[in-house]
Protein backbone atom coordinates (compact mmCIF):
# COMPACT_ATOMS: atom_id res chain seq x y z
CA UNK A 1 0.00 0.00 0.00
CA UNK A 2 1.23 3.54 -0.84
CA UNK A 3 4.32 2.45 -2.83
CA UNK A 4 2.79 3.39 -6.17
CA UNK A 5 1.45 6.68 -4.83
CA UNK A 6 4.90 7.53 -3.49
CA UNK A 7 6.48 6.65 -6.81
CA UNK A 8 4.04 8.83 -8.73
CA UNK A 9 4.46 11.76 -6.35
CA UNK A 10 8.25 11.62 -6.32
CA UNK A 11 8.33 11.52 -10.12
CA UNK A 12 7.13 15.11 -9.93
CA UNK A 13 8.23 16.61 -6.60
CA UNK A 14 10.75 15.98 -3.84
CA UNK A 15 9.39 15.16 -0.40
CA UNK A 16 11.11 13.58 2.59
CA UNK A 17 10.00 10.52 4.58
CA UNK A 18 8.35 12.56 7.33
CA UNK A 19 6.33 14.47 4.78
CA UNK A 20 5.21 11.29 3.05
CA UNK A 21 4.34 9.68 6.42
CA UNK A 22 2.09 12.68 7.12
CA UNK A 23 0.60 12.44 3.64
CA UNK A 24 -0.31 8.78 4.30
CA UNK A 25 -2.39 9.72 7.34
CA UNK A 26 -4.71 11.78 5.13
CA UNK A 27 -5.63 9.03 2.66
CA UNK A 28 -8.41 6.52 3.19
CA UNK A 29 -7.56 3.06 1.82
CA UNK A 30 -10.60 1.53 0.15
CA UNK A 31 -11.27 -1.74 -1.61
CA UNK A 32 -13.99 -1.27 -4.18
CA UNK A 33 -15.37 -4.38 -5.79
CA UNK A 34 -16.13 -4.74 -9.47
CA UNK A 35 -19.45 -3.11 -10.48
CA UNK A 36 -19.62 -0.99 -7.33
CA UNK A 37 -19.74 2.78 -7.54
CA UNK A 38 -17.40 5.34 -6.04
CA UNK A 39 -19.60 8.22 -7.16
CA UNK A 40 -23.20 8.45 -8.36
CA UNK A 41 -24.82 11.19 -10.41
CA UNK A 42 -26.38 13.80 -8.12
CA UNK A 43 -23.97 13.13 -5.24
CA UNK A 44 -21.23 15.56 -4.32
CA UNK A 45 -17.83 14.11 -5.28
CA UNK A 46 -16.39 13.70 -1.78
CA UNK A 47 -13.15 12.04 -2.82
CA UNK A 48 -10.37 12.19 -5.31
CA UNK A 49 -9.21 8.60 -5.78
CA UNK A 50 -5.73 7.32 -6.57
CA UNK A 51 -5.93 3.90 -8.24
CA UNK A 52 -3.40 1.51 -6.70
CA UNK A 53 -4.89 -1.49 -8.43
CA UNK A 54 -7.77 -2.09 -10.81
CA UNK A 55 -9.67 0.01 -13.30
CA UNK A 56 -12.45 2.60 -12.99
CA UNK A 57 -14.63 4.26 -15.56
CA UNK A 58 -16.17 7.75 -15.29
CA UNK A 59 -19.32 8.19 -17.31
CA UNK A 60 -22.43 10.30 -17.73
CA UNK A 61 -25.93 9.19 -18.70
CA UNK A 62 -27.82 11.29 -21.24
CA UNK A 63 -31.57 12.03 -21.35
CA UNK A 64 -32.18 8.93 -23.45
CA UNK A 65 -30.43 6.74 -20.90
CA UNK A 66 -27.32 6.22 -23.03
CA UNK A 67 -23.97 6.04 -21.24
CA UNK A 68 -21.01 8.13 -22.40
CA UNK A 69 -17.62 7.18 -20.99
CA UNK A 70 -15.43 10.19 -20.26
CA UNK A 71 -12.42 8.49 -18.77
CA UNK A 72 -10.84 5.20 -17.82
CA UNK A 73 -8.61 5.36 -14.72
CA UNK A 74 -5.94 2.70 -14.58
CA UNK A 75 -3.40 1.79 -11.91
CA UNK A 76 -1.37 4.89 -11.05
CA UNK A 77 -4.06 7.28 -12.30
CA UNK A 78 -6.45 9.53 -10.40
CA UNK A 79 -10.24 9.56 -10.69
CA UNK A 80 -12.76 12.18 -9.61
CA UNK A 81 -15.21 14.77 -10.83
CA UNK A 82 -12.83 17.62 -10.05
CA UNK A 83 -15.46 20.28 -10.60
CA UNK A 84 -17.79 18.76 -7.99
CA UNK A 85 -14.87 17.94 -5.68
CA UNK A 86 -13.62 21.53 -5.69
CA UNK A 87 -16.96 23.37 -5.65
CA UNK A 88 -19.08 21.01 -3.52
CA UNK A 89 -21.81 21.06 -6.20
CA UNK A 90 -23.64 17.81 -7.14
CA UNK A 91 -21.86 15.79 -9.79
CA UNK A 92 -23.21 14.64 -13.14
CA UNK A 93 -20.63 11.82 -13.17
CA UNK A 94 -20.85 8.20 -12.24
CA UNK A 95 -17.61 6.43 -11.33
CA UNK A 96 -17.74 2.63 -11.37
CA UNK A 97 -15.17 -0.10 -10.72
CA UNK A 98 -14.71 -2.23 -13.85
CA UNK A 99 -12.43 -4.55 -11.88
CA UNK A 100 -11.85 -5.16 -8.17
CA UNK A 101 -9.98 -2.01 -7.12
CA UNK A 102 -7.67 -0.87 -4.36
CA UNK A 103 -7.98 2.89 -4.00
CA UNK A 104 -6.55 5.65 -1.85
CA UNK A 105 -9.17 8.32 -1.26
CA UNK A 106 -8.63 11.88 -0.13
CA UNK A 107 -11.38 14.31 0.88
CA UNK A 108 -11.36 18.04 0.12
CA UNK A 109 -10.57 19.02 3.76
CA UNK A 110 -7.65 16.54 3.83
CA UNK A 111 -6.49 17.78 0.43
CA UNK A 112 -6.51 21.36 1.80
CA UNK A 113 -4.59 20.23 4.89
CA UNK A 114 -2.00 18.51 2.70
CA UNK A 115 -1.47 21.62 0.56
CA UNK A 116 -1.22 23.83 3.61
CA UNK A 117 1.21 21.64 5.52
CA UNK A 118 3.41 20.56 2.59
CA UNK A 119 3.41 23.29 -0.08
CA UNK A 120 5.31 21.01 -2.51
CA UNK A 121 1.99 19.25 -3.04
CA UNK A 122 0.62 22.44 -4.59
CA UNK A 123 3.14 21.92 -7.37
CA UNK A 124 2.26 18.21 -7.60
CA UNK A 125 -1.47 18.83 -7.93
CA UNK A 126 -0.87 21.72 -10.34
CA UNK A 127 1.07 19.32 -12.58
CA UNK A 128 -1.75 16.77 -12.32
CA UNK A 129 -4.40 19.34 -13.18
CA UNK A 130 -2.31 20.62 -16.12
CA UNK A 131 -1.96 17.08 -17.47
CA UNK A 132 -5.68 16.53 -17.01
CA UNK A 133 -6.45 19.75 -18.87
CA UNK A 134 -4.20 18.75 -21.78
CA UNK A 135 -5.86 15.32 -22.02
CA UNK A 136 -9.36 16.82 -21.79
CA UNK A 137 -8.62 19.41 -24.50
CA UNK A 138 -7.10 16.70 -26.68
CA UNK A 139 -10.23 14.56 -26.31
CA UNK A 140 -12.48 17.51 -27.08
CA UNK A 141 -10.59 18.42 -30.24
CA UNK A 142 -10.35 14.78 -31.30
CA UNK A 143 -14.10 14.36 -30.88
CA UNK A 144 -14.66 17.08 -33.53
CA UNK A 145 -11.80 16.52 -35.91
CA UNK A 146 -10.46 12.94 -35.74
CA UNK A 147 -11.73 9.99 -37.71
CA UNK A 148 -12.90 6.88 -35.87
CA UNK A 149 -9.67 5.15 -36.85
CA UNK A 150 -7.53 8.00 -35.50
CA UNK A 151 -9.44 7.94 -32.22
CA UNK A 152 -9.02 4.19 -31.93
CA UNK A 153 -5.30 4.43 -32.68
CA UNK A 154 -4.87 7.11 -30.00
CA UNK A 155 -6.75 4.95 -27.48
CA UNK A 156 -4.42 2.02 -28.04
CA UNK A 157 -1.42 4.33 -27.63
CA UNK A 158 -2.77 5.77 -24.38
CA UNK A 159 -4.09 2.51 -22.91
CA UNK A 160 -2.12 -0.34 -24.55
CA UNK A 161 -3.90 -3.18 -22.69
CA UNK A 162 -7.36 -1.66 -22.39
CA UNK A 163 -8.87 -3.91 -25.07
CA UNK A 164 -8.24 -6.98 -22.93
CA UNK A 165 -9.87 -5.39 -19.89
CA UNK A 166 -12.89 -3.49 -21.17
CA UNK A 167 -15.86 -4.74 -23.25
CA UNK A 168 -16.20 -3.45 -26.81
CA UNK A 169 -19.33 -1.42 -26.17
CA UNK A 170 -17.47 0.61 -23.53
CA UNK A 171 -14.57 1.23 -25.90
CA UNK A 172 -17.08 2.47 -28.48
CA UNK A 173 -18.74 4.69 -25.86
CA UNK A 174 -15.36 6.18 -24.87
CA UNK A 175 -14.54 6.91 -28.51
CA UNK A 176 -17.98 8.36 -29.21
CA UNK A 177 -18.66 5.93 -32.05
CA UNK A 178 -21.10 3.07 -32.55
CA UNK A 179 -20.18 -0.56 -31.91
CA UNK A 180 -20.57 -1.24 -35.62
CA UNK A 181 -18.10 1.51 -36.51
CA UNK A 182 -15.65 0.19 -33.92
CA UNK A 183 -15.93 -3.29 -35.36
CA UNK A 184 -15.31 -1.96 -38.89
CA UNK A 185 -12.27 0.05 -37.77
CA UNK A 186 -10.77 -2.95 -36.02
CA UNK A 187 -11.28 -5.15 -39.09
CA UNK A 188 -9.70 -2.54 -41.35
CA UNK A 189 -6.68 -2.18 -39.08
CA UNK A 190 -6.28 -5.94 -38.72
CA UNK A 191 -6.44 -6.47 -42.49
CA UNK A 192 -3.54 -4.00 -42.98
CA UNK A 193 -1.21 -5.91 -40.67
Amino acid sequence: MFELLKQKITENISINEDEFDFCKTLFQPKKLRKKRFLLGEGDVCKYTAFVEKGLLRSFIIDEDGAEHILQFSLQGWWAADLSSFLTGEPSSYNIEALEDCELLLITKPSWDTLLERIPAFERYFRILIEKNLIVTQGRLIASFSNTAEEKYHKLIQTFPHILQRVPQHMIASYLGITRETLSRVRKQMASRK
Partner: protein, 170 residues
Amino acid sequence: MKVKETIAFIGKADDSSSSLIRKLARKNYPLVLVTKDDPDLVKLSGQILDETPQADVEIIDCVKEGCWEADVIVLANAVTPEPEWVENIKAVATQKILVYLSFTEKDATYPVEMTKALRWLMPHSKVVQARLNPVSQVVDIAGEEEAVATVIDIFSNTDYKTILKPFIET
Protein backbone atom coordinates in the same frame (compact mmCIF):
# COMPACT_ATOMS: atom_id res chain seq x y z
CA MET B 1 -28.02 7.74 -7.64
CA LYS B 2 -26.89 7.99 -4.07
CA VAL B 3 -23.88 5.80 -3.36
CA LYS B 4 -24.37 4.51 0.17
CA GLU B 5 -21.58 3.93 2.64
CA THR B 6 -20.34 0.37 2.99
CA ILE B 7 -20.64 -0.54 6.66
CA ALA B 8 -18.51 -3.17 8.40
CA PHE B 9 -20.16 -4.59 11.51
CA ILE B 10 -17.94 -6.13 14.15
CA GLY B 11 -19.64 -7.61 17.19
CA LYS B 12 -22.10 -10.22 18.41
CA ALA B 13 -25.53 -10.68 16.86
CA ASP B 14 -28.16 -10.20 19.55
CA ASP B 15 -31.73 -8.89 19.25
CA SER B 16 -30.71 -5.22 19.19
CA SER B 17 -27.79 -5.51 16.79
CA SER B 18 -29.73 -7.91 14.52
CA SER B 19 -32.59 -5.41 14.31
CA LEU B 20 -30.16 -2.64 13.32
CA ILE B 21 -28.44 -4.83 10.72
CA ARG B 22 -31.80 -5.85 9.22
CA LYS B 23 -32.88 -2.20 8.93
CA LEU B 24 -29.60 -1.18 7.30
CA ALA B 25 -29.90 -4.04 4.81
CA ARG B 26 -33.48 -3.05 3.93
CA LYS B 27 -32.24 0.48 3.22
CA ASN B 28 -29.70 -0.95 0.79
CA TYR B 29 -26.55 -0.16 2.75
CA PRO B 30 -23.84 -2.58 1.62
CA LEU B 31 -22.97 -4.57 4.75
CA VAL B 32 -19.90 -6.55 5.66
CA LEU B 33 -20.49 -8.68 8.74
CA VAL B 34 -17.13 -9.60 10.21
CA THR B 35 -16.97 -12.85 12.13
CA LYS B 36 -14.85 -15.96 12.34
CA ASP B 37 -17.26 -18.16 14.20
CA ASP B 38 -20.48 -16.42 15.29
CA PRO B 39 -23.23 -18.76 14.04
CA ASP B 40 -25.89 -16.17 14.90
CA LEU B 41 -24.33 -13.60 12.58
CA VAL B 42 -24.05 -16.17 9.77
CA LYS B 43 -27.68 -17.18 10.34
CA LEU B 44 -28.76 -13.54 10.35
CA SER B 45 -27.02 -12.94 7.02
CA GLY B 46 -28.93 -15.86 5.48
CA GLN B 47 -32.24 -14.66 6.93
CA ILE B 48 -31.71 -11.15 5.56
CA LEU B 49 -31.03 -12.48 2.08
CA ASP B 50 -34.20 -14.62 2.28
CA GLU B 51 -36.29 -11.65 3.46
CA THR B 52 -34.66 -9.03 1.22
CA PRO B 53 -33.09 -10.70 -1.83
CA GLN B 54 -31.69 -7.42 -3.16
CA ALA B 55 -29.80 -6.79 0.11
CA ASP B 56 -26.05 -6.47 -0.16
CA VAL B 57 -24.86 -8.47 2.84
CA GLU B 58 -21.76 -10.54 3.16
CA ILE B 59 -19.92 -12.44 5.85
CA ILE B 60 -16.14 -11.90 5.92
CA ASP B 61 -13.92 -13.76 8.37
CA CYS B 62 -10.95 -11.38 8.12
CA VAL B 63 -11.32 -8.17 10.08
CA LYS B 64 -8.70 -6.37 8.00
CA GLU B 65 -10.44 -7.23 4.72
CA GLY B 66 -13.80 -6.16 6.13
CA CYS B 67 -12.47 -2.82 7.35
CA TRP B 68 -10.57 -2.23 4.11
CA GLU B 69 -13.80 -2.50 2.15
CA ALA B 70 -15.82 -0.39 4.57
CA ASP B 71 -16.40 3.35 4.70
CA VAL B 72 -17.84 3.11 8.21
CA ILE B 73 -16.72 0.56 10.80
CA VAL B 74 -19.15 -0.25 13.60
CA LEU B 75 -17.83 -1.87 16.77
CA ALA B 76 -20.88 -3.10 18.66
CA ASN B 77 -21.74 -5.01 21.79
CA ALA B 78 -18.65 -4.21 23.78
CA VAL B 79 -16.01 -5.28 21.31
CA THR B 80 -12.73 -4.62 23.06
CA PRO B 81 -10.13 -2.84 20.95
CA GLU B 82 -7.16 -5.10 21.78
CA PRO B 83 -3.80 -3.65 20.65
CA GLU B 84 -3.10 -6.62 18.36
CA TRP B 85 -6.50 -6.27 16.70
CA VAL B 86 -6.06 -2.51 16.35
CA GLU B 87 -2.66 -2.99 14.74
CA ASN B 88 -4.28 -5.32 12.23
CA ILE B 89 -6.85 -2.81 11.01
CA LYS B 90 -5.08 0.50 11.67
CA ALA B 91 -3.57 0.79 8.20
CA VAL B 92 -6.92 0.24 6.43
CA ALA B 93 -9.03 2.34 8.82
CA THR B 94 -7.18 5.63 8.29
CA GLN B 95 -9.62 8.53 7.85
CA LYS B 96 -12.57 6.13 8.23
CA ILE B 97 -15.43 6.56 10.66
CA LEU B 98 -15.20 4.19 13.61
CA VAL B 99 -18.47 3.99 15.53
CA TYR B 100 -18.30 2.58 19.05
CA LEU B 101 -21.92 1.50 19.45
CA SER B 102 -23.59 0.38 22.65
CA PHE B 103 -27.17 -0.77 23.12
CA THR B 104 -28.77 0.28 26.36
CA GLU B 105 -32.22 1.12 27.67
CA LYS B 106 -30.76 3.03 30.56
CA ASP B 107 -29.64 6.60 30.37
CA ALA B 108 -26.16 5.44 31.22
CA THR B 109 -23.00 7.27 30.25
CA TYR B 110 -21.13 6.41 27.08
CA PRO B 111 -18.42 3.76 27.17
CA VAL B 112 -15.96 6.60 27.59
CA GLU B 113 -12.89 4.49 28.35
CA MET B 114 -13.33 2.47 25.16
CA THR B 115 -13.76 5.47 22.91
CA LYS B 116 -10.83 7.19 24.57
CA ALA B 117 -8.72 4.08 23.98
CA LEU B 118 -9.82 3.95 20.35
CA ARG B 119 -8.96 7.60 19.80
CA TRP B 120 -5.52 7.02 21.27
CA LEU B 121 -4.87 3.76 19.42
CA MET B 122 -6.25 4.95 16.08
CA PRO B 123 -5.52 8.69 15.91
CA HIS B 124 -6.10 8.88 12.15
CA SER B 125 -9.60 7.38 12.27
CA LYS B 126 -12.71 9.37 13.14
CA VAL B 127 -14.09 7.90 16.35
CA VAL B 128 -17.80 8.38 17.03
CA GLN B 129 -19.66 7.40 20.21
CA ALA B 130 -23.19 6.07 19.69
CA ARG B 131 -25.72 4.74 22.18
CA LEU B 132 -28.85 3.11 20.79
CA ASN B 133 -31.86 2.65 23.03
CA PRO B 134 -33.68 -0.40 21.61
CA VAL B 135 -36.97 0.55 23.33
CA SER B 136 -37.25 4.20 22.37
CA GLN B 137 -35.30 3.69 19.09
CA VAL B 138 -33.32 6.82 19.90
CA VAL B 139 -29.60 7.01 19.16
CA ASP B 140 -27.36 9.46 21.00
CA ILE B 141 -24.36 10.32 18.85
CA ALA B 142 -21.18 12.24 19.65
CA GLY B 143 -17.89 12.88 17.91
CA GLU B 144 -16.11 14.96 15.30
CA GLU B 145 -18.53 17.13 13.28
CA GLU B 146 -18.13 15.70 9.77
CA ALA B 147 -18.11 12.07 10.93
CA VAL B 148 -21.12 12.63 13.19
CA ALA B 149 -23.09 14.11 10.28
CA THR B 150 -22.53 10.92 8.28
CA VAL B 151 -23.49 8.67 11.21
CA ILE B 152 -26.63 10.71 11.93
CA ASP B 153 -27.54 10.43 8.25
CA ILE B 154 -27.19 6.64 8.35
CA PHE B 155 -29.31 6.21 11.51
CA SER B 156 -31.93 8.72 10.29
CA ASN B 157 -32.22 6.91 6.95
CA THR B 158 -32.75 3.73 8.94
CA ASP B 159 -35.71 5.23 10.82
CA TYR B 160 -34.04 5.88 14.17
CA LYS B 161 -34.38 9.16 16.00
CA THR B 162 -30.99 10.74 16.54
CA ILE B 163 -29.76 13.18 19.15
CA LEU B 164 -26.44 14.98 18.79
CA LYS B 165 -24.48 14.93 22.04
CA PRO B 166 -21.18 16.49 23.04
CA PHE B 167 -18.23 14.10 22.95
CA ILE B 168 -17.52 12.94 26.48
CA GLU B 169 -13.81 13.10 27.12
CA THR B 170 -13.55 12.15 30.77
